[in-house]
């Protein structure tokens, strides 16, 4: 089959594309055909195979468009999104109502033994940025250049990620003394005697702070939130900058 025959067969096989697109495909192949001494069959495969590859994308696009544009399918999609959010919120609410597993402010609690096999660990000597979303976490600090964590569900630290995410699970975490940003969205976090200044963001969630005798300067910005039980000391070395939107920020009490 020479190249002209190839192009002729390809045009017929691409009848499923609209004319403008087909013409452009043919023109592109003819253009690059001139740059190589190999024939088109050798370079592109049979005309029907090549056309199939072009049309495969077309079939997939049409299928996706059908699903997305039909009203019934759209409703189903949003129901799925809503159900997932409801499940996440339910898990989180149940955890909240069921109380703390132990007194998180007790830094000597046996649950905090990081040598236990339930704990994972990774070297970490850079700023920390963690978001807790529809989950819960308790954060402690230590002098090691490592992060230790013990989670009920899945959680993996990834150094390639700017922000680590704790989602749909509950974790105990030890953090190094690095610049730290913690965000909670529809979840709950407890911070226990932080040893470094923090940037904290609470959105439709709760933040409880166990000062354990340490002094902190609080910089608060809140909107439709409950703030209570915090004792800001202007001379404190450690600043906790907290932004709360429809959230709750209060002193920790074991419940």
């Amino acid at each position: 089959m020479n190249n002209d025959q190839y192009i002729s067969k390809l045009k017929k096989a691409l009848a499923g594309l609209d004319r403008a697109e087909r013409d452009e495909v043919i023109m592109e192949i003819q253009s690059d055909a001139a740059e190589s001494d190999k024939d088109l069959f050798e370079r592109f495969g049979s005309p029907s195979e090549l056309a199939e590859n072009y049309l495969e994308g077309e079939a997939l696009r049409a299928t996706v468009q059908d699903k997305v544009t039909s009203t019934g399918k759209k409703i189903f999609l949003w129901m799925g999104v809503g159900l997932t959010a409801l499940i996440g919120a339910t898990i989180f609410s149940f955890w909240q109502l069921s109380g703390d597993d132990f007194d998180y402010s007790n830094e000597l609690a046996e649950e905090l033994n990081v040598d236990d096999s339930d704990w994972s660990s990774m070297e970490w000597d850079s700023p920390v940025n963690i978001e807790v979303s529809q989950g819960a976490a308790v954060f402690y600090w230590h002098k090691e250049a490592r992060i230790h964590w013990n989670c009920r569900g899945s959680f993996y630290l990834r150094k390639t990620q700017k922000q680590q995410k704790i989602r749909h699970t509950q974790c105990l975490v030890f953090l190094p003394m690095q610049d730290t940003t913690l965000a909670v969205k529809q979840g709950s976090i407890v911070i226990v005697r932080p040893q470094t200044s923090l940037n904290l963001s609470v959105e439709q969630g709760s933040l409880r702070i166990a000062e354990n005798g340490e002094q902190y300067r609080y910089k608060l910005s809140e909107e439709s939130s409950h703030i209570g039980g915090l004792n800001s000391q202007e001379n404190a070395n450690i600043t906790l900058s907290i932004r709360a939107i429809e959230g709750s920020v209060e002193a920790y009490e074991y419940r």
Binding site: E21, V25, S31, A34, R43, F44, G45, L50, G57, R158
Partner: protein, 113 residues
């Protein structure tokens, strides 16, 4: 049978991977055309035939990941279809690179289990 199954798996894996490779190439160039992209892929050890690449480029163009324009070389000859990153491709690329790196890390972790 084993070879066929492997080829099927490999084919699935390559589809997303090739898209990432193309976006990465075009992130480093103002624009490029099919044959040049093919050569750059081969130089980087990514073996792909034109019957796969050209439909892929067309698909990425239709999805808005790439934009294209026709340019006739100054030295004469047939006009070439050049591709450059589209808006969708520009926003997808960093996410795809991050996901790819995450997947590599996951495999490394799984191998240690």
């Amino acid at each position: 049978m084993e070879t066929t199954n492997y080829q099927k798996w490999s084919s699935q894996l390559r589809k997303g991977y090739l898209e990432l490779c193309v976006l990465t190439i075009l992130s480093n160039k103002d624009s490029s055309y099919g044959l040049e992209i093919l050569q750059l892929l081969e130089q980087s050890g990514v073996s792909v035939n034109e019957g796969t690449l050209y439909p892929l480029l067309n698909r990425m163009f239709k999805n808005g990941w790439l934009e294209s324009h026709w340019k006739t070389p100054t030295e004469g000859g047939h006009p070439r279809r050049f591709y450059q990153l589209g808006g969708e491709g520009e926003s997808m690329l960093p996410l795809m690179l991050e996901t790819y790196a995450d997947n590599q890390e996951s495999i490394a972790l799984l191998k240690e289990l």
